[in-house]
């Protein structure tokens, strides 16, 4: 027994040493490629085709991106292949770790700081020919450490959606559409009945943050260098939301048995909701019988405010053909391409020159695009996603909680990220 054990140990030890040697050899190729690729010359190995990795919302989006990329590929004479990720974060991470990432990919504001700080991304923003055409607030959403990393793909803002039938039934007219906090509270109360609540929304920062913005607050300053989570403005915004919740005129969607604000609104559990322009797809497909209109969110003490959500076209630092990738991105963010995307699957174009045409094509959705002028983005600092999800967890019990305490802990967590 004794002897067998020791032999086994030796065997296992040898296997391990061998294995480690093998793996060390395998990773040897990784040593040379560590230089940061920001700033310098773009790579342009034109023998390599481009791979494009997207996280698609459905067939319409996949088909539209495929068509746009194929058109570019034909014109430029460079191969390009689109693949749809089932879990974008995971597939991106695998690509970066193996140093064979997709050349061009969707990138969320949440993931930007992490990938930018580890050098996976090419900061190509300043090389874009159409750089000045993007909305400035979107540009700052993709600026990390002073560098404009990637071209905003499209964007969404939050606005107020109103069920016109329930609105009329409660005796309200167009003149009653709320433009101030007080008016919002009043119409919410009017619209609250036994079976429906005036306003329903998701219990997260990505919705309630709009109130904080209207009060003049934000989680961090514009270039994400200072935490401002527990400012008096933010507290005022949350306390207003808390009051609406406790008065029973506003509810979290989850409290009334809906997965998100759009579902509560579509099932007519609420007469109003605060959502982004993605809701139009759900309304058309799932709740075609509900008539609604879009209004700008009411102004708070510090004027209008809303949140914006956006993705960009990331280009990998390890891409062998960055010149072609940049060319593709310029094509995909051009006015024509963005207006086609908008027609096919509904996002708002990220460039100002497409605004007028988009507005005339979507007259009912104009408030969403108008939001671009005053919208705030999410903090761009590594680890902010965790802090926001912690804030979300606390916001679920905002009704009984204390706005100051909640925001103090968020402030503490954000400050820890900046150290």
């Amino acid at each position: 027994m004794q002897r067998r054990n020791s032999r086994l140990l030796i065997g296992a030890g040898l296997t391990m040493v061998g294995a480690l040697t093998l793996s060390a050899c395998g990773s040897g190729s990784g040593f040379s490629n560590d230089s940061a690729t920001t700033g310098g010359e773009l790579t342009s190995d034109s023998s390599q085709g481009l791979s494009v990795l997207i996280g698609s919302s459905g067939d319409a989006e996949t088909a539209a991106v495929n068509a746009a990329v194929a058109a570019w590929s034909e014109a430029a004479g460079t191969n390009a292949e689109v693949s749809v990720a089932s879990d974008l974060n995971q597939q991106l991470a695998q690509g970066f770790a193996a140093q064979k990432p997709a050349d061009v990919f969707y990138l969320s504001t949440d993931a930007l700081a992490g990938y930018a700080s580890n050098g996976s991304l090419l900061a190509y923003g300043d090389n874009l020919a159409n750089k000045d055409d993007f909305y400035p607030s979107l540009v700052s959403s993709f600026t990390y450490d002073g560098e404009f990393y990637c071209a905003p793909k499209d964007f969404s803002t939050l606005q107020l959606l109103i069920n016109t039938d329930l609105w009329a039934k409660a005796g309200l007219t167009d003149a009653d559409i709320p433009t101030t906090w007080d008016e919002l509270a009043t119409v919410s109360a009017t619209l609250t009945t036994g079976s429906q609540v005036g306003l329903a929304l998701g219990s997260e920062y990505a919705r309630l943050g709009a109130f904080m913005a209207q009060a003049g607050g934000s989680l961090m300053n514009e270039d994400s260098t200072e935490a401002t989570a527990n400012s008096p403005e933010n507290i005022a915004g949350l306390e207003y939301a808390q009051k609406l919740l406790n008065d029973g005129v506003m509810s979290y969607a989850s409290e009334i048995g809906a997965g998100w604000g759009g579902e509560a609104f579509g099932k007519q559990l609420s007469a109003m909701t605060i959502e982004g322009n993605w809701i139009t797809g759900a309304m058309t497909n799932d709740f075609p019988d509900v008539n609604y209109t879009v209004a700008e969110l009411p102004a708070g003490p510090e004027g209008k405010g809303t949140l914006q959500f956006t993705n960009c076209w990331g280009i990998a630092a390890d891409s062998p053909n960055q010149t072609a990738a940049l060319d593709l991105v310029e094509q995909l963010t051009s006015k024509d391409a963005q207006l086609t995307f908008s027609e096919e699957f509904g996002p708002m174009p990220s460039i100002m020159s497409a605004a007028d045409e988009w507005k005339s094509a979507n007259p009912t959705l104009v408030p969403f695009l108008d939001g671009a002028d005053y919208a705030t983005g999410v903090p761009i600092v590594q680890g902010a996603t965790d802090v926001v999800s912690d804030l979300n967890a606390q916001l679920e019990s905002l009704k009984t909680g204390n706005a100051q305490t909640i925001l103090d802990s968020t402030q503490k967590n954000l400050e820890a990220l900046l150290k």
Partner: protein
Amino acid sequence: MSMPARTPRRSGIRGGEAASGWLFTAPMIILLGMFLVIPVLMALWVSFSDWNGRGSPFSGSVAFVGLDNYSALVGGGGLAEQDFGTALRNNAWYVLLVVPIQTTLSLLLAVLVNRQILRGRGFFRTAFYFPSVTSSVAITVLWLFLFSASGAVNKLLAFIGVNGPNWFNDPSGVLHNIFEAFGVATGPAALTGNSFLGISFWEWLAGPSVAMSAFILMAVFTTSGTFMLLFIAALQNLSGDVVEAAIMDGANGWQRFWQVTLPQLRPTLFTVLTLGLIGAWQVFDQIYTGTQGGPGKTTLTPAYLSYQAAFTNQAWGQGAAIAFILFVIIVVFTLFQRWLLAERTVSARRMRLYLQTPTSGGSK
């Protein structure tokens, strides 16, 4: 010195045995090495490094940072520690409830369907085993529907006059709710003022959240069938004569189960508890497909937290560190339980029982 003794083993008909032994096991050793040992060792290195997810973790730019990743989790005082503490709290309650309940239930089911007089035993065995062969993702989706605010479970509860909770959206702890029913809404200062791993003792005592309770029910529902199968196999392996002897000794059914059958099932019990413990500490699929840690982080588990830290936050070192702490926890629990279930010599108190009966046949 021992050469003369060893030489005979090297020659003759059995000489090549060791070599062929290694040869035959080599494919498996290489496979396990490639896909298990190396990745585990790489992860161990990552947990001690500042690798950030780009390129190889063995490249020159990756530095050794000692226990930094671990200390951020168990003593950093920041969000990482708090999240890890919350995840451990959630999972500890999950384990505490799932493992005993599923073991008891599976043993009970096994005994029931093992009885000779039960008609349609095959049907029941299949029915109880069915949830185990269904994919956990499918069952999670089913569960999300059953336990939605207006789902079947709440309809059923409403039928008997109970106003069901909003299961997967209710972050309140079950124990806290019970305390509250007795008028204790906030804990004593001694519990709320002091904390361990970033969350107060009062929060540790919250119990599983209502959302987590739904997952606990699901785990019991899905795994009881698997373990029932193990118990049935063990029960059918028991020889009938020991039970017959117990009957002759005048033991009733209850005594036979506790004193005769159960002690003989000890090895199976160990297997079931160990597998249950490991499975319960590693719960991931349900969280990933179901709630992603919500509501209020009350279904966050270390396994999911590890995934999240690595893949969404690019904190690979921390993700790996969580995985290794989880590994240590599982090993410690398994060792503890092995010690608990170890065969021991009969205690003096119990021995007296046997000695005092003068007519005992001594057959034991």
